[in-house]
Amino acid sequence: MSVSAPSRISGIGRLTPFRAQRIWEHNYIAYRRLWKVVFSGFFEPVFYLFSVGVGIGALVGDVSGPGGVPVSYAAFVAPALMAASAMNGAVIETTFNIFFKLRFQNVYEGILTTPMQPADIAIGEIGWALLRGVLYSSTFIIVMVVMGLTTSWLAILAIPGSVLVGFAFGAVGLAATTYMRSWQDFDLVTLATMPMFLFSGTFYPLDVYPPAIQLVAKISPLYHGTELLRGFTLGVLDWTMLVHALFLLVMGLIGAAIANRRLDAMLRK
């Protein structure tokens, strides 16, 4: 073989302060081949919506929506499913996928031998998770429009709303993943998201519960996401939505801070 070592080239690489977008680029390349798997995640909430729309809705009739206005049952549940899909997309991304890369593949250790920093990874991965959540929720809202479940122009605001949901859950999911030791611990993820999905005012207004349980349900982050999106898709604005948005924002910021600190401690021993 007459191959020589690679030639020396000059002026290679630059130092830019912010490069979290490189993580997106990485994930984009990796997901190009897996788009079917990602895309199939979109169907679950749609199946639920059909089930509610054609079946359960007829049993329930109208329910009282935000501000006590009666709305069809499907229109009531749809924004909740939209919030849940943003949650699920973000949580799957930052728990299962990240755990594999973190614990088994040591992908991040390699990345940190380049100019990338732990914060780039944390911000990049949370941002990507949020994107996946938003992908689900924004395609979902198209289904809602087609089914006539939202007529207000305010519904467009549900997309930035689901960005907040994705951010909050993606950040907390990433923080949680840094504490996970084995695959068994992922049962805890299901144990957290499943009750949230069922009891956050998704399928009926919280007032069917006794006041004490209502209070518990209101701590659920998904409840805040659901209420925020419901206000937008049903076209009823209310100052409490500001509280819901703030809750999600603060939750996301705390999660991101913990995730960043933990990743740094884990990867730079």
Binding site: R22, H26, I29, G110, L112, R268
Partner: protein
């Protein structure tokens, strides 16, 4: 000194109550291949991690390119290439994508990266695997890809942690050949290894590490000359005869080591020593004469073998 790329003085790394690296000093110069030889747990990998700025220094002084790893880690990492002990290739990406994304981590443009990928794949003898996924590659191919990945940013310093551990002999020689080419073309290499043959093959200069400390320093030849006589007689005995033979052999060679499976005699002239053994009535089952190696140096310095 302009040609010193890495300088360490009293460099120390402690994890809770374990001192992994215990106040070591070394200088690594432009254009040399510098080795850290030692058994597992000697502190080699911890030292590498401090140089690559992924592990904070506990005590002492370390500069890389004259920069401080604590505050200028990013600028240092921009100029180094790292081949870790365990492959951490991205299994979700293809061979060329693995190179591409590392180029992007270094903020290189697509136009800069693509010709480089072609060049590096040729260097790593992986051109025909360009679009293959990483999973089915052999251990040797994965290592070569990891080395190619470390070269994407044309680093001034290449750090290889146990580059051939776990590879079969053929794959090792192929890899050594690639590293030799890099060296020939002026690259600065830092190599850790617990294989003496690897250190002898690749390193211009090396330090021997044991339990966090540097116990010797020099070129492979210097170390062998300094710490081990020229030749080694390896003797095997029947279990019953052994103890008796050990007593009889006392003083026959410059130095001897009694190992679990054999006895090593260090001598400047193996023929002389063999005659002396015969005269003393020592008749080993098996005799092997060889040149001294770094393994013998290590045995001399620590009383233990490199590989258990």
């Amino acid at each position: 000194m302009t040609d010193t790329l890495v300088e360490a003085r009293g460099l120390t790394k402690r994890f809770d109550d374990l001192t992994a690296v215990d106040g070591i000093d070394f200088d690594i110069h432009q254009g040399e291949a510098f080795g850290f030889l030692g058994p597992n747990g000697a502190g080699k990998t911890s030292t590498m991690k401090m140089i690559t700025t992924v592990s904070p220094i506990t005590e002492g002084k370390l500069t890389v390119f004259g920069l401080d790893p604590t505050t200028q880690g990013r600028s240092i990492r921009q100029r180094i290439g790292v081949v870790p002990q365990e492959d951490n290739l991205d299994l979700e990406l293809t061979v060329s994508e693995n190179l591409y994304i590392y180029g992007r981590y270094h903020d290189m443009s697509r136009a800069e990266i693509n010709p480089r990928i072609t060049e590096l794949l040729e260097f790593a003898q992986l051109s025909d695997r360009r679009d293959s996924t990483v999973e089915p590659l052999s251990g040797g191919m994965k290592r070569r890809l990891t080395i190619a990945r470390a070269l994407i940013n044309d680093p001034d310093l290449i750090i290889l942690d146990e580059p051939t551990t776990g590879l079969d002999p053929q794959a090792r020689h192929l890899l050594w050949d690639r590293l030799y080419r890099l060296k020939r073309d002026g690259a600065t290499l830092i190599i850790t290894t617990h294989y003496m043959d690897e250190a002898e093959q690749l390193c211009d200069r090396l330090v021997v590490m044991d339990q966090g400390k540097i116990v010797a320093e020099g070129s492979p030849r210097e170390l062998i000359e300094q710490y081990a006589p020229r030749e080694v007689l390896e003797l095997r005995f029947d279990d019953e005869q052994r103890d008796d033979a050990v007593i009889k052999m006392d003083g026959v060679a410059a130095r001897s080591e009694v190992l679990a499976d054999r006895v090593l005699l260090y001598t400047d002239d193996a023929d002389d020593t063999q005659r002396a053994l015969h005269d003393r009535g020592v008749h080993p089952e098996q005799v092997l004469v060889r040149r001294s190696t770094l393994e013998d140096v290590f045995l001399r310095l620590t009383g233990r073998r490199l590989i258990d």
